[in-house]
Subunit: 283 residues, 2 copies
């Protein structure tokens, strides 16, 4: 498997960074992650928008310009020959002489097999727990997952598939996914603030108005327990139903009709996007 | 300069980690940092206590046992031959196959020249700003400095030497230092909660009762602005006077008498510690 590191294509197993890199010294870096389907980097422009935005906000330098980055992405797809994959961009704070001030960053692009939800998770939905936390610069995709990784033990003990953050009574997001609920009156609601703006979340908000009323606003933790349906969204998980929160069943305890309708709409949207991309490639 | 990485002594410039390491992928790791003075690793046992505690709380594996770690420290001191230095221990989440779950960690020990406060900072004190933030697992020395590094720009614009965190009206700590104030009545006060328990902070709390009354408790942000004196503590900075906070002078605007007395007491304590260590080495 080929990767790209600082201007060079090389086998992924040879991609190393010196320990003075600010990711190792101070956990300072950003990343992004998108799917490759049928050799098409799905919604690439949206992910690149977010990646360059993260880079600018964190004051990071060292990423190549957009046409060059897209050329790297397409070359890796061609040369690695994977039909379906995840592709990850990482930009770190670089080899900092004082182990604190960022310098020219190290920039890595790597391709990986996709880890998708299990068939049972998709069909039956997942259980989640909640935890009081809010990411520090939530609308930037930093590499800081200290809390998310630390909570894996708690999740395992609770037999939960994910953990939903909240603070001051307001729900925000999962470590790697966005949160949606459907009220008992059938309105789709998702947190407006203290979140990473997921690309899949954006797609769901685009297709949802044809199916139900939509509200993007602060969501209180109590509302979560009273919801008729709930689900999470992410690049790899799509729309994944949530049927249990903190040991309380959500609505009927089964994936709800609005959730399933939105999952279908999201898949149709993806299908259309892929067909459009293939037509462009063939024209 | 020699370093130690996963069982091997090697030149620091050759110490590299594969990009799958969880520090690079997810900012997941811990570290610690102590001073070497006159070839003595000052208060080594205290720093090792904290390092092993951090490792246990974060569920990290891969660090060698205490006698072996001490042997590495003393070998690096001997072989690198630096009289005065900083020494850093880093333990990461390891080469995680799924880039999320920790595995056997990568363990690094490296030695570095000390970066000390300038003579002007020590003599005249520093200016600081405040910022609303609290570290997520504050009593563990994780490598997450996303906020601290991100605030460097704001500090520079404000011509501030450091930034003091607070949340919900309660002051906690600096990114890399602890905070103390002296009330106008002459009582030394330092935050009790939401902090990393600094070794220098501990030493100051040990020597202070001979100089003034001491309170370890929650500290409100308003108290900070009303303080008669203020200072920070850290392994490299010792006791460093703070003379300006958010553009308001602290007390007289000059380093205060209690601050200077504590700085002297801390230095005496260090002197005694070094002499004790030399006697042990020579006996």
């Amino acid at each position: 498997m080929l990767a790209y590191l600082n201007g060079e294509f090389l086998p992924l197993e040879n991609a190393q960074l010196h320990v003075s890199d600010l990711a190792i010294q101070r956990g300072y870096g950003i990343f992004d992650f998108f799917r490759v389907n049928e050799r098409v980097p799905l919604y690439l422009e949206d992910y690149l928008d977010r990646f360059y935005r993260s880079s600018a906000i964190m004051g990071l330098e060292g990423v190549i310009d957009r046409p060059a980055l897209k050329e790297v992405v397409y070359q890796l797809i061609r040369r690695n020959g994977m039909q379906e994959a995840g592709m990850k961009l990482i930009l770190t704070g670089g080899y900092s002489p004082d182990a604190y001030h960022p310098v020219k960053g190290n920039f890595l692009v790597s391709q990986h097999p996709l880890v998708l939800p299990t068939a049972a998770q998709v069909a039956e939905g997942i259980s989640i727990i909640t935890y009081p936390y809010r990411r520090e610069i939530a609308d930037v995709k930093t590499i800081n997952y200290i809390m998310g990784v630390w909570l894996l033990k708690k999740m395992k003990e609770a037999r939960a598939a994910d953990v939903l953050y909240h603070r001051d009574g307001i729900v925000s997001e999962f470590p790697r996914c966005n949160f949606f609920l459907v009220t008992r009156q059938g309105t789709l609601v998702t947190p407006a603030n203290h979140i990473l703006h997921g690309i899949t979340r954006m797609r769901v908000l685009e297709v949802a108005p044809s199916a139900c009323p939509v509200e993007v606003r602060d969501v209180r933790l109590e509302e979560v327990y009273e919801a008729g349906e709930a689900f999470l969204t992410s690049t790899t998980k799509g729309v994944l139903p949530i049927v249990n929160i903190d040991n309380r069943p959500v609505g009927s305890g089964k994936p709800g009709p609005v959730t399933l309708a939105l999952r279908d709409l999201l898949r149709q949207r993806e299908r259309a996007e892929l067909q459009k991309s293939h037509q462009v490639q063939n024209s």
